[in-house]
């Protein structure tokens, strides 16, 4: 798998900008930290990302406030605005930046999602992107009239079917339906809007959709699952995947695995971009960068946060322990896995993880806080702008990814220095664009592969996922 390289031409790096979210990666205690909700913060962040020619900005979503030990978790940023509403407003203050967000498929119906994404795509001139997430937890379901009902094993069935139905709605309007022919008196000709009839495991819907086909046809589809069904779903349907593989080797393995699945779905490897999440710290010298990175990690993992992390794994109240002291001598409670709720959990076997952490802490003589910093907070890229550009470029050229979704630690200025200093370095290397390729997100995400724009060719394929 060569990732579509030809001759000596370098792969073009794709970057997305993750608005700082509601976990401890976001440092709210820094004097430079601004509002997480005021629109001015979003404007600053988006305009800077657009100045840096990023493919898109991205908003995460969580539909219930996190709780820890039965109370709302108050150590990290809490609260954020509505994804669709912010993205539509951002469309007014940007011209080319893609506008992506997570929208949960469990607590929305396909016709609502279809209308909202079609509207965002119209109102942004073709810049919408959707990260499909499906949650199964009854905890979040308590905020919704339909409640939490989904069995975990149904998650990808729900995601596949909701996408299938959303595509049926989007495809139900012919691309040229709106004629607006004054002289002939025809606004939309009869037959240009097809009725939809869908009967499946999750949905039984019918009717005619009320929103015309949008500039991109469908929003750019993002996906973030790492499980086997998650990878298969991504290989079959996604335009970009967010992964979590930090090392070069793990990145290459994931890249090869997912792109290797694509031909079975009638897709070419270039039709999908793999964008791992990445953090970074810049400095004037290598030593300066290391020093700053250490400072940021200590901001991200305060003593109370370290204890809370440990409690998630231990399943016990550890508030009596000193974060600057050694790990608890008591064993985890494997039954109590729900000590933290409303948070994505990546580890399943907490007993094994606890064993691993204990060994690490003992061998390196780490306190609780040092251990949590070591295991959760190490930044992906640390160095001078030239060094960080070199690391990013070599990772992408080695087919460990097609780019990154960058997660800055400060709102709203966390990407300012990256845009001012690293982007020009990447451009000098010939591996980053110097202007946007076109008005739509798809134009830019698939800049090297213009013939991949035939969205219609992909339209009929989601059916094999829902069976």
């Amino acid at each position: 798998m060569s990732g579509g390289m030809s001759g000596t031409r370098k792969k073009l790096i794709h970057l997305a900008a993750h608005f700082p979210g509601v976990n401890n990666t976001t440092v709210w205690s820094d004097p430079a930290s601004g509002s997480q909700t005021d629109f001015a913060s979003f404007v600053h962040f988006a305009r800077n990302a657009e100045r840096g020619l990023f493919d898109f900005m991205f908003l995460a979503e969580g539909l219930r406030l996190r709780e820890h030990r039965g109370q709302i978790h108050d150590l990290d940023v809490v609260g954020r605005p509505d994804t669709f509403t912010v993205l539509n407003a951002i469309a007014a203050v940007t011209t080319h930046l893609g506008l992506g967000g997570t929208i949960n498929t469990t607590f929305n119906e396909p016709v609502e999602i279809a209308k909202q994404f079609a509207s965002l795509d119209h109102l942004s001139g073709g810049r919408a992107a959707w990260n499909l997430v499906t949650s199964s937890d009854a905890f979040t379901g308590e905020n919704f009239r339909r409640g939490g009902f989904l069995r975990p094993e149904q998650r990808y069935d729900r995601a596949a079917e909701i996408l299938e139905v959303a595509k049926e709605w989007w495809d139900s309007w012919a691309g040229d339906a709106v004629r607006a022919d004054r002289a002939g008196g025809v606004f939309v000709p009869d037959g240009a809007i097809s009725p939809v009839r869908h009967v499946g495991e999750q949905f039984d819907v019918r009717g005619r959709f009320d929103t015309p086909r949008s500039p991109q046809g469908y929003p750019v589809l993002l996906q973030s699952g790492d499980s086997d069904p998650g990878r298969e779903f991504g290989a079959a349907t996604a335009d970009a995947i967010f992964s979590r593989h930090g090392t070069l080797e793990a990145g290459q393995a994931f890249f090869a695995d997912v792109k290797g699945r694509m031909p079975r779905h009638g897709r070419r490897p270039d039709d999908l971009k793999i964008l791992p999440a990445a953090t970074f710290v810049l400095g004037d010298t290598p030593a300066d960068a290391e020093e700053r990175a250490d400072h940021v990690r200590r901001q991200q993992v305060g003593g109370q946060t370290a204890i809370a992390f440990l409690e998630q794994v231990w399943g016990r109240d550890l508030s009596g322990y000193d974060p600057d002291g050694p790990l608890p001598d008591i064993d985890p409670d494997p039954q109590n896995v729900s000590i933290t709720r409303g948070r994505v959990r990546h580890e399943r076997d907490t007993m094994a993880l606890a064993r691993q952490w204990r060994e690490l802490a003992e061998s390196k003589r780490l306190s609780i806080r040092e251990l949590i910093i070591e295991t959760t907070a190490r930044q992906s890229f640390i160095g001078t702008p030239a060094q960080v550009a070199e690391q990013i470029d070599s990772y992408v050229q080695a087919d460990a990814s097609d780019g990154f979704i960058l997660v800055p630690h400060l709102t709203p200025g966390g990407l300012d220095n990256f845009v001012a200093k690293v982007i020009p370095e990447l451009q000098d290397r010939g591996s980053f664009r110097t202007s946007y390729a076109g008005p739509t997100l798809r134009d830019n995400l698939f800049q090297n592969t213009p013939d991949a724009l035939a969205g219609e060719a992909l339209a009929g394929e989601s059916g094999n996922l829902s069976g």
């Binding site: 539909l63 605005p81 469309a91 609502e112 905020n143 009239r145 709106v178 607006a180 009717g207």
Partner: protein, 410 residues
């Protein structure tokens, strides 16, 4: 489609001297053939430029708010459907898109509550309030038809009284969620390490006839805390009659009420009923303005307006479109001068506290509102000389609301 007889003697009670002035922005306008006019922009209806242009006109005119109607109702079918504008965009999305490029006009999207989740609506409108720095409002609407229910496939149709009982619950949940974050909940206390004061976050623990919602919202309290709720009393009711369920929701929750009425006499009666319902809910009726819908086709001369009306009606007839019911309410075809008189009569006579203009044709219908109608109303002391600053609540003279959870000592 002719203007109705004005009866300024049918007053219920004295009213304020100023007139609230709002406009409904629906596609190419309310007349089904409006998109065919030479100054229409039928090819642009689904673009941002079209909507920002309209919103900026409303902003320049100093209007109190604009309403963007919305529903999931499928595109028209049958005779004349080809000649009708089909398709619409999500109204909250449009309002958010125009917010950063307008400065003073209130933004009131309609959002249906029958098939959607109040949790989503609550954060969407709160966020509209953030992106407009305090100019958001909301018009809750019900979905009446089987065709809409079939798009969701989750429940059947229900009679109007049930729909409005459910809508009342939905509004209550939305408002409780707005209150679920007290002011000042975000403390960013570096010394204690606490980002929020969780004593200022509240589970709403709402349990009603139709659904239950836990809370709190994921979105902090917005600039206005409670964006105004605008209830359209008899929207989509064929004979324009009140629905008791809608009247009850208006009485309990509305910060402003839109009514459709055939003439000023009927409007005055509707206003009296609204005020009664507000009183019954234990609220002050003087704090809840009633705005009469007036569908308008304005032109520089009465002749020109009549000619345009004839042309529009001719197109509609030739296309086989059924005779349009332009708003089920008072209609005005003529000059801005006479419309200003009508508005003065309506407000002075106690038939309404203001009007919501429903232009037959856009953007032309709005341009004359900005260029001619508003200056005339200013001359007559019915509109302020310049748009006041502040948010939409300020337009309605509403102070910052108390928080349900601190008020109730929860």
């Amino acid at each position: 489609m002719n203007s109705s007889v004005m009866n300024s003697s049918a007053m219920s009670r004295p009213s304020r001297t100023g007139a609230y002035l709002a406009v409904e922005l629906a596609g190419a306008g309310r007349h089904p053939a409006a998109w065919r006019l030479a100054d229409a922009a039928p090819g642009e209806l689904f673009t941002a430029g079209y909507w920002t242009g309209l919103a900026q006109l409303a902003d320049i005119a100093g209007l109190d708010f604009l309403v963007i109607p919305d529903s999931f109702t499928p595109p028209a079918e049958g005779p004349g459907a080809e000649a009708t504008v089909r398709g619409r965009l999500d109204a909250v999305a449009i309002a958010a898109r125009v917010a950063p490029v307008t400065t003073s006009v209130g933004l009131v999207p309609a959002a249906t509550v029958t098939h959607t989740e109040p949790f989503h609506l609550s954060k969407a409108i709160a966020t509209l309030d953030f992106v407009s720095t305090g100019r958001a409002g909301w018009q809750p609407s019900v979905s009446r038809t089987q065709a809409e229910a079939d798009l969701f496939g989750r429940k059947g149709v229900a009679p109007a009284d049930v729909l409005w009982r459910e809508a009342g619950e939905a509004v209550e949940v939305v408002v409780r969620l707005w209150d679920s974050w007290e002011d000042g909940a975000v403390v960013r206390n570096v010394s204690t390490g606490r980002y929020v004061d969780r004593d200022k976050l509240h589970y709403i623990d709402f349990t009603g006839e139709f659904f239950s919602v836990k809370g709190p919202s994921i979105t902090p309290r917005s600039p206005q805390a409670r964006p105004p709720v605008v209830v359209h009393l008899n929207e989509g009711v064929p004979d324009g009659a009140d629905e008791p369920g809608a009247l009850a929701v208006a009485g309990r929750w509305a910060d402003a009420v839109r009514v459709s009425a055939a003439d000023l006499g009927a409007a005055a009666e509707a206003r009296t009923r609204v005020r009664g319902s507000v009183s019954d809910a234990g609220r002050d009726p003087d704090a809840v303005p009633v705005l009469l819908d007036v569908s308008t086709l304005l032109a520089s001369t009465a002749d020109e307006a009549a000619r345009t009306a004839d042309r529009l009606d001719g197109w509609a007839e030739a296309a086989g479109q059924p005779a349009a019911d332009l708003s089920g309410s008072v209609s005005w075809v003529g000059t801005a001068e006479r419309l200003a008189g009508l508005i003065g009569d309506a407000v002075g006579g106690g038939a309404a506290d203001g009007v919501t203009l429903v232009p037959w044709a856009l953007p032309s219908g709005l341009r004359l509102v900005a260029d001619e109608l508003v200056p005339l109303l200013r001359e007559r002391g019915l509109r302020p000389a310049a748009a006041p600053g502040g948010g939409l609540r300020d337009r309605f003279g509403l102070s910052r609301p108390a928080n349900y959870f601190t008020e109730a000592g929860v």
